[in-house]
């Protein structure tokens, strides 16, 4: 039986000595990141790692500052984000209506499920050659790959959101006088909504994962291009700058979307 008292989101670690709350967690996270950076710096300095292959954090930072100064990092990041957002938008526009249609009809579901299950395991990267043939080596092929990558998480979540409507909610609304349209607006949509938002977040993560691979195709800007170009010119520090930028961007976006998700579907996170 669920209690009505305010329950903690996660039980405290049973053997935790200090009262490590939200701030304690942040401190621990910062500590571990700092420790890794220090170890990495020491390892490079004393040449435990080959500095040509693994530049020290200090060098990466220097390179990052240089890339920020000459504007190339900002430019490449902006180009990448533009592609991610465009591909993501395309995925949203296609995945949500398709997921809704399939989720709401058992017949359509039966027809499409085998096809979807066959398509789903194909990694987006495997479709790059095809995308080049179909869309050329310009923006379209990159956006298409990102859109394809982002499509499935959004689609699958949307589908289950519309499929998992609780029949008792439908019955309750009908006995309260809801019309078919009102059932859709007041029961089906609110049920599917949190799942769609979750799908969007996962889709956005996938868009970032696919981004670099998509940008390896003859591109002249973007973080993937930057990393690949740095490989050709053997500037490992710039490779690291590119990788870290993607990591930080992905982290920030995921955190932001998670926060957004918590806000707009508050009742799910009580």
């Amino acid at each position: 039986m669920p209690s009505h008292a305010n329950k903690p989101a996660m039980p405290a670690a049973p053997f935790a000595r200090g009262g490590a709350g939200g701030r304690g967690q942040t401190a621990l996270a910062l500590l571990s990141v700092a420790a890794v950076l220090i170890l990495w710096q020491l390892a490079s300095q004393f040449e435990v790692l080959n500095p040509a292959l693994v530049p020290s954090p200090a060098e990466v930072a220097r390179s990052a500052v240089a890339a920020i100064r000459d504007g190339s990092l900002l430019h490449n990041t902006a180009v990448s984000i533009g592609r991610v957002l465009l591909g993501f938008a395309v995925a949203l526009v296609v995945a949500i209506p398709v997921g809704m249609l399939i989720g709401m009809s058992r017949i359509v579901q039966g027809l499409t499920e085998p096809l979807i299950e066959l398509l789903r395991p194909i990694p987006p990267i495997a479709l790059i050659p095809l995308a080049i043939l179909w869309f050329g080596i310009g923006e379209a092929s990159k956006v298409a790959i990102i859109a394809y990558g982002a499509f499935f998480p959004i689609f699958v979540s949307t589908l289950s959101g519309f499929r998992d409507v609780d029949p008792v909610h439908i019955r309750a609304a009908r006995t309260l006088g809801a019309t078919r349209y009102e059932l859709f607006r007041d029961v089906v949509l609110p049920t599917a909504y949190p799942q769609i938002v979750t799908g969007a977040r996962l889709g956005m993560s996938m868009a970032f994962i696919v981004l670099v691979a998509a940008e390896l195709i003859a591109s002249s800007a973007g973080l993937g291009y930057m990393i690949n170009y740095a490989r050709i010119t053997f500037k490992t520090d710039e490779i690291f700058v590119g990788i870290c930028t993607i990591g930080v961007l992905g982290f920030v976006l995921n955190k932001g979307l998670l926060e957004l998700e918590r806000r707009i579907v508050r009742w799910k996170y009580l």
């Binding site: 039986m1 669920p2 008792v168 019955r171 309750a172 006995t175 309260l176 007041d186 029961v187």
Partner: protein, 275 residues
């Protein structure tokens, strides 16, 4: 002794076979005439006839598989009989409608709405103005004792409180009839007793026609004016018992135990137990 006045099936059944004209049915809140429900091979309800008066508290009592929930769903309009028909206040029941409110064992509250918004849902659909919606929320939250939880979400409430909210939501829509499908079945024994008493208090204040499905003999005896004893395979009405034990009722009274015992014996005679 009031219990002795309880009628057996044949007497009640003859009364239940009302003439097939609508004028006679207008007096009854619910009129079930020769209803049969088949699910393929399975005969869920066989030749059920029953009249329920306005303001009456009726319990449908029986073991699982006796069709009591099916009968309730015929009344709500979720199940169309394969033969016979059901009327409410003289109108043929064809689909669910806001005149027949319903309370489910699984509560059926919308988890994305607060208690207040859940309660306001039906009136809001009808286009009630904002001030009226506020008044309704106030009135029905206090009716079920949830004033302090009006802004809570169902996920934050205990089972008993959820069912209070669900009852408030159904009543706030001003139905003529309240249909309850084992509403307290998922609650612990103590909460269950408290809610039974609350339900009686509300029913006595509002005098809605109330049809209550249960498999608990004691619950039916404590609550109902009339107990429809059903049996399974195929689902049918076995007996209709008038329960004249005076209200307010006492669970520890001899009359209460006597009627419980009588019904228990009925189930034993028909070879089936109601839990």
């Amino acid at each position: 002794m009031s219990v002795m006045q309880a009628q057996g099936g044949p007497v009640a059944a003859s009364r239940a076979h009302a003439p097939e004209n609508a004028a006679a049915a207008t007096s009854a809140a619910l009129s079930i005439r020769g209803v049969e429900v088949r699910y393929g091979e399975l005969l869920a309800l066989q030749q059920v006839s029953l009249e329920i008066r306005q303001g009456e508290f009726v319990c449908l009592l029986g073991p699982s598989g006796c069709g009591k929930t099916t009968l309730l769903n015929v009344m709500s309009g979720f199940v169309r009989p394969t033969a016979g028909s059901a009327y409410t206040h003289g109108r043929l029941i064809e689909e669910p409608g806001p005149d027949r409110g319903m309370v489910f064992q699984e509560y059926g509250l919308f988890p994305w709405l607060t208690v207040k918004k859940n309660i306001q849902y039906g009136p809001r659909l009808k286009g009630a103005p904002a001030a009226e919606l506020e008044r309704i929320a106030d009135q029905y939250c206090s009716l079920v004792g949830l004033e302090r939880f009006r802004d809570s979400y169902p996920g934050q409430l205990s089972g008993g409180m959820r069912q209070r909210a669900a009852i408030a939501r159904a009543l706030a829509n001003q139905p003529e009839i309240l249909l309850m499908d084992e509403p307290f079945g998922a609650l612990d024994a103590m909460t269950r007793q408290v809610l039974q008493e609350e339900l009686l208090r509300i029913w006595e204040a509002q005098r809605k026609t109330l049809v209550f499905v249960t498999h608990s003999i004691a619950e039916a005896v404590f609550l109902a004016d009339r107990i429809i004893v059903m049996s399974a395979h195929p689902g049918r009405i076995e007996h209709i018992l008038d329960n004249d034990i005076p209200r307010p009722r006492d669970r520890t009274a001899d009359a209460h135990f006597e009627l419980c015992r009588r019904i228990e014996l009925l189930f034993q005679q028909s070879g089936r137990h109601a839990d």
